[in-house]
């Protein structure tokens, strides 16, 4: 049994005006465990706190009940007071007799009666309180960034600038991501490469950053501050540290009909290749599915021409284990497959392309060296039809499109249309839209310029079908405002395909125990207030893996995530919240139910040997809660049928005691 002191605050007349504080203090005296009870004008004042401190010493109190304002107001204050007087701060409970009593009730008698009941409930709870100590765990001062697009690059640079080592894991042979494939960027029309590649170089040169390109994350264990990650560095058959990126091997490679992924298959590359001129790391990679030497053991030309001796056909996948304090997910996006949208004849005509393909077609480093030529016959297209919302806002069928708005298409389509009209004023450009969405700095102005200055024909309505006929694409569409069906003979049709999270995100989320929404976008810890953190502690989100984003947004989120990571890594130790779940292993049956409801992945299982009630020994699977990860919501405690899982600070027995006290 505790020795409890009860302190009833008047809060001037705020409480005392509607609650007879003396009566409350008097009534609570006879509650079990209460050895001291008093009231005072302002408990939170220095003098009030001194009353508490003195009473703790004088009466050897082990538990404190303060009947006062909301715990959201002064719980922390009174916990400090208790700690200062030498008792555990978690032995303090607050009875909220101001916000939830004196301020909402008018009548003195009712107010007093209710205050007594609330006080009794607090006493009943304190009787079952136990001293709690927050756990501490060390922090590994290194961050992992998964994904080397602009989001990953920016995050890594910011973290590295703060002096912490960062590793970037990128599946492609080079960092740069989607932005490296873009031509110009809206709304300023500066060239993507001009602003991105310097950053890529910064990454390469930053002493704090290591790049694991052509690599992927294999396994993640641990928790915030203490992740153990295994990275699989795929064999590229070129010694990265020796290769100078001179390109001699590429020139001589006889296998030169391999579709070039970087140009979305619109031209070819060699079996040994460097994705693009400014690649980082600028080293060659051999495609094992295309290389004759690797497939049949015949050829070996690249090895012969490499003066640095960097070619190594025997290279194996390498596994690197590293510890990290924080992990940033920056896995980005991809346009969805156009397979299910055959009304646009994407599979039937080379001249029906996606916007990303269009970017490559207009890019100086692209397959047409920047000249806008249509893929089928390399002729200049005179009539171009852009179709927006292809697969976006599509609620009809989950397998076909995406219910959400992909957000970036309106702006890049305006950009494309504008650029075409700028370079080739003889071209007729139609944009079919459902809505044009341009919230953003200088965005709407940009779109209006496309219409007003460049004469792009924006038509409200969708394209119903595209039929290749001769060298033309017959486009049948609606003009809803004119209430007409339009028939356009186009040379090129550009589809603004919806974007979706990269396929690697789902397995990664499982490894991280980070939650995802139904579209496989990572869920943020709070949609408004913690938008760059995952609910899983120590996991942060950067860029389009969290939701569709344009470049400025991506970069701001990337920097925000970096600052969150820095905030974590500067700490030497993490102090947890002691009000966390804890399992009673003797009662736990290892059923995994609690693990399934834990939003933080704080619960794992261990096989342990137990003496069973019948004296036999058995190895049983039991739950383990990582107190550094648990946030104390209590979802697991109710999911647990046997009641093996309890929540410190809000134990089942404590809540039941409160219920009993209230219902007495």
């Amino acid at each position: 049994m505790q020795r409890i002191g009860v302190f009833v605050c008047w809060c001037g007349s705020n409480i005392a005006g509607t609650v007879d504080v003396h009566t409350v203090a008097e009534a609570l005296k006879s509650e079990p465990g209460v050895v001291f009870s008093t009231d005072y004008q302002y408990m939170c004042s220095q003098a009030g706190q001194d009353i508490i401190k003195n009473a703790i010493k004088e009466h050897n109190l082990t538990g404190i009940v303060v009947c006062s304002c909301s715990p959201r107001m002064h719980e922390a204050t009174f916990r400090k007071t208790a700690a200062a007087a030498g008792i555990n701060p978690y032995m303090v409970e607050i009875a909220n007799i101001r916000e939830q009593c004196s301020w909402v009730h008018k009548d003195m008698q009712t107010g007093t009666e209710k205050a007594i009941i609330l006080g009794k409930a607090a006493v009943a709870k304190v009787n079952l309180n136990t001293p709690l100590t927050p756990g501490e765990s060390p922090v590994t001062k290194r961050a992992l960034v998964i994904g080397g697009g602009i989001a990953g690059i920016q995050t890594a640079l910011d973290i590295a600038d703060a002096g912490f080592p960062v590793d970037i894991v990128e599946t492609k042979p080079t960092i740069g991501g989607k932005m490296a494939q873009l031509d110009k960027t809206f709304p300023t029309l500066d060239c993507a490469a001009c602003i991105l590649t310097p950053k890529m170089v910064d990454v390469a040169q930053n002493e704090n950053i290591r790049i694991f390109s052509y690599s992927e994350v294999q396994e993640i264990k641990g928790f915030v501050g203490n992740f153990d990650v295994t990275i699989k560095k795929r064999a590229r058959f070129v010694k990265e540290e020796i290769c100078t990126g001179c390109g001699a091997c590429v020139e001589k490679c006889p296998m030169k009909k391999i579709p070039n992924e970087f140009n979305l298959g619109m031209d070819n590359r060699h079996a040994i290749y460097i994705p693009f001129a400014q690649a980082v790391p600028k080293v060659a990679t051999i495609d094992p599915n295309a290389c004759n030497m690797l497939k049949k053991g015949k050829c070996g030309i690249c090895s012969k021409v490499c003066s640095a001796g960097a070619i190594d056909y025997t290279q194996k996948d390498e596994f690197i284990s590293e510890k990290y304090g924080a992990i940033v997910v920056a896995t980005g996006f991809n346009p969805i497959s156009m397979e299910k949208f055959d009304e646009y004849a994407y599979s039937q005509s080379k001249d029906v392309i996606t916007s990303l393909e269009f970017e490559r077609l207009t890019n100086a480093a692209g397959p047409t060296a920047g000249k806008l030529l249509r893929p089928s016959d390399l002729k200049h297209p005179h009539t171009i039809v852009f179709v927006q919302c292809v697969g976006s806002r599509c609620a009809a069928c989950a397998e076909k499109g995406k219910e959400y708005c992909s957000k970036i298409c309106c702006m890049y389509t305006a950009k494309h249309a504008m650029l075409v009209r700028d370079k080739y004023p003889d071209t007729e450009v139609y944009v079919f839209y459902i809505d044009v969405r341009t919230p953003g700095k200088n965005f709407d102005e940009f779109y209006r310029r496309a219409v007003e200055e460049y004469g792009v024909k924006y038509v409200k309505g969708m394209v119903g079908k595209v039929t290749p006929e001769g060298d033309k694409l017959k486009v049948q569409a609606s003009d809803l405002i004119a209430n007409k069906q339009l028939h356009i003979d186009a040379d090129l049709v550009v589809l603004a395909a919806a974007i979706e999270p990269d396929k690697s995100a789902r397995p990664l989320a499982t490894m991280l125990t980070a939650s995802m929404d139904t579209n496989d976008f990572f869920t943020e810890a709070h949609p408004k207030l913690r938008p760059v953190e995952s609910p899983t502690a120590g996991v942060f989100l950067s860029g389009a893996c969290q939701g569709p984003k344009d470049i400025p947004e991506t970069v701001s989120q990337a920097s925000a995530a970096a600052s969150k990571v820095i905030g974590l890594l500067v700490k030497d130790k993490l102090t947890g919240n002691p009000c966390v779940a804890s399992p009673n292993e003797l009662m736990c049956n290892g059923c995994s139910t609690c693990e399934r409801v834990c939003p933080y992945g704080a619960i794992t299982y261990e096989d342990k040997e137990f003496m069973m009630p019948d004296r036999s020994k058995a190895i049983r699977r039991v739950a383990q809660v990582n107190p550094a990860v648990c946030q104390g919501c209590g979802a697991c405690t109710v999911a647990c049928m046997s009641g093996a899982m309890d929540l410190r600070g809000f134990m089942g027995s404590q809540i039941i005691a409160e219920v009993d006290a209230i219902c007495k």
């Binding site: 919302c389 599509c394 009809a396 969708m462 119903g464 049948q476 003009d479």
Partner: protein, 130 residues
Amino acid sequence: MHNDNTRLTQEIIRASGVNPSKCMKCGKCSATCPAYDEMEYHPHQFVYMVESGDLEPLMNSKSLYKCLSCFACIDRCPRGVEPAKLVEAVRFAVIRQQGADHMTPDDVPAKLNEDIPQQAIVSAFRKYRK
């Protein structure tokens, strides 16, 4: 847009199982419709007119019978609105009215034609009368 067709509108919505308020006015149904040129009111207008309860002009329009029920609009609609089902429901609403048969036995001989299978005419007759 207010009118007294609320009950009938509800009935059409219920009978068709279509929720016209899902429509986001993209016009893909009309863009895709092979009978567009024959119609006075086009599929997207159909949806909108049912949604707003503007049924009378619709029920009096020949457009109703121009729909081929090819279901291209259903297939292509990004929101799963299914305009063709609405058209069908409106057609039945018309037929259910007294004396509103679209085809009567007297119409049949005139339609007989070597290029059209008789069975098609018979089923059209069956379908478009009470």
